[in-house]
């Protein structure tokens, strides 16, 4: 058995930031385990720019953003293993992993940071009617083919779902000479960032059909066309609104799901709202000493927020190793209410907070000139005015500790109050 103080599972942006921060906080014996052939995770295939505006105050591409953290990790002498797959984790923080180079390894950690990220929802998960020809890809898979391997996956493309990866891929395929005929989005609004609608669709006159979905994929060996229909408020296709587009490729950008097979196997409790582990103010999961950060906890829109959250997880993993985290004292749970779909963290132990508490949340619908209202049990303790709230844009609140430290309450509720 090999012993480490902190083992980080996943070498993407979350794992890199967590490992670096654990080292900065005085832990020397750290291991990062990555299953791919290089560090950096999904950033390496996200060759577009727009990363780092919060963390570095400049606009970087994905590989550039990854480079800064990889360089820092290497300069600090933090150990990492590539091409290594973690097979299991248990409550005693024993990890089984395997690689071609090292064979089968059993590793014991004092603290573990889960940073496995997320994966794309597939065609199977959304049940598109029709045949099963080739030419149907998830947007991220197509992105890897084009940006890493150098294959253009098709010439005439229809994209289902207007998440950011779908929008980015619409532009990328267009630049490489493909014709993107349409982006169909089942919701009445896009799940992607406004800037991406402007610079990926509007710039290239690619139509975005809101409240539309693909109702049939046609083709025997390869996709030959898709049928698109408008949907009503309950997302049911409206008969008579169908139109057919000839194409050879369908890209799916229909959401991301935190990748928690390992967490579930270890018996970590999962929040059905986020589909990630329940976490505390220190990013600790339901198992003592197992922390989690980044997209494995909840899907972020910005890598900058992943970095901030992961630094917190890394710092607290270091504190845990030094026995500086307390389960004593006051605590409360957070509860999403009216209009709020989830809140991270789900539980807060007040004594572990230095000065401020970071809260991430998402709303259920689009609101203009609304308020986010925070209640300690029934008492309103804070209101934030929000010009614009949308499900595709995660909200980040920084609460000063003095706001709640002197109060005795069980539940912090956050809800949306619409303008009168």
């Amino acid at each position: 058995m090999i012993n480490y103080e902190v083992v980080v599972i996943g070498g993407g942006p979350a794992g890199l930031a967590a490992a670096i921060e654990a080292k900065r906080n005085g832990v020397n014996n750290i291991l990062v385990i990555e299953r791919d052939r290089e560090l950096g995770g999904i950033l390496q295939q996200c060759i577009h720019n727009g990363f780092g505006l919060h963390v570095f105050k400049e606009e970087l591409t994905g590989p550039e953003y990854a480079h800064r953290f990889i360089k820092e990790l290497k300069d600090m002498g933090i150990e990492y293993k590539l091409d290594t797959m973690v097979l299991s984790l248990n409550k005693e923080k024993v990890i089984h992993a395997i690689s071609r180079e090292d064979g089968y390894m059993i590793i014991k950690a004092k603290a573990v940071v889960l940073a496995m990220g997320c994966r794309e929802r597939t065609a199977g998960a959304i049940n598109i009617p029709g045949t099963r020809p080739s030419g149907v890809f998830s947007a991220g898979t197509a992105q890897r083919y084009i940006n890493i391997d150098g294959y253009l996956v098709g010439k005439k493309v229809v994209i289902l779902g207007s998440g950011d990866i779908g929008l980015i891929m619409a532009r990328r395929m267009t630049l490489e000479g493909a014709k993107v005929l349409a982006v169909a989005e089942i919701m009445p609004y896009s799940g992607g960032l406004n800037r991406n609608i402007v610079q990926c669709l509007n710039d290239y006159n690619i139509p975005l059909y809101l409240s539309h979905t693909i109702t049939e994929i046609k083709g025997r060996d390869r996709v030959t066309s898709v049928v698109i229909s408008q949907v009503d408020e309950s997302m049911k296709p409206i008969p008579g609104t169908e139109f057919e587009l000839e194409c050879d490729t369908v890209l799916l950008s229909v959401g991301l799901i935190p990748e928690n097979e390992l967490s579930e196997q270890a018996g970590i409790e999962i929040d059905p709202r986020t589909k990630g582990p329940y976490v505390t103010e220190t990013m600790e999961t339901s198992i003592d000493g197992v922390f989690a950060c980044g997209n494995v906890v909840h899907v972020h829109d910005l890598v900058d927020f992943v970095t901030e959250e992961s630094r917190r997880a890394g710092k607290n993993a270091a504190k845990y190793v030094k026995d500086l985290i307390t389960n004593q004292g006051k605590s409360f749970n957070t509860k999403p209410s009216n209009g709020v779909s989830y809140i991270v963290p789900q539980k807060v132990r007040v004594d572990n907070i230095d000065n401020t508490l970071d809260i991430f949340l998402r709303v259920r619908a689009i609101y203009n000139n609304a308020k986010l209202v925070l209640k300690a049990d029934d008492e309103v303790i804070k209101e934030y005015n929000k010009k614009h709230l949308a499900p595709g844009e995660m909200e980040h609140l920084v609460l000063p500790k003095k706001l709640f430290a002197d109060k005795d309450f069980d539940t912090l509720t956050i809800e949306v109050k619409e303008a009168n």
Partner: protein, 118 residues
């Protein structure tokens, strides 16, 4: 007086800008949350540019493509012309992040640079 509505693409905030150009040529802007909103609006309404990110072919390496970007904005109407030039390039390691792959592309004064080490 002239009014325009734009969405700022400087950062992921995506501010909704309301721009008024007055008769005497003054610019009034609302909805921006930082000072970059005004310079974006002025540029977008007069000479719009975009950062171009793409890849070039690689030989003699484990990697098959090198991600590259323009060091500054390229005029919007020259993007496809720039792509055609970039797609003719093949590179070999060693390459460092920031290395110039194409200098002064299409006489724009903008370089195409590497996004990573190779």
């Amino acid at each position: 007086m002239e009014k325009h509505n734009l969405i700022c693409i400087n950062c992921p905030m995506g501010c909704r800008l309301e721009i008024t150009i007055t008769e005497n040529g003054g610019w009034l802007i609302e909805g921006n949350q930082c000072k970059r909103g005004l310079s974006y609006a002025q540029k977008e309404l007069t000479a719009p540019t975009r950062t171009l990110t793409t890849t070039v072919k690689v030989k003699n390496s484990l990697l098959r493509r090198l991600p590259v970007k323009s060091s500054d904005g390229i005029p919007k109407e020259k993007i496809f012309e720039a792509m055609a030039l970039i797609n003719q390039v093949t590179v070999e390691p060693p390459i460092s992040i920031g290395d110039i792959i194409i200098e002064n592309i299409l006489d724009t004064g903008v370089n195409i640079i590497s996004s990573r080490d190779l």
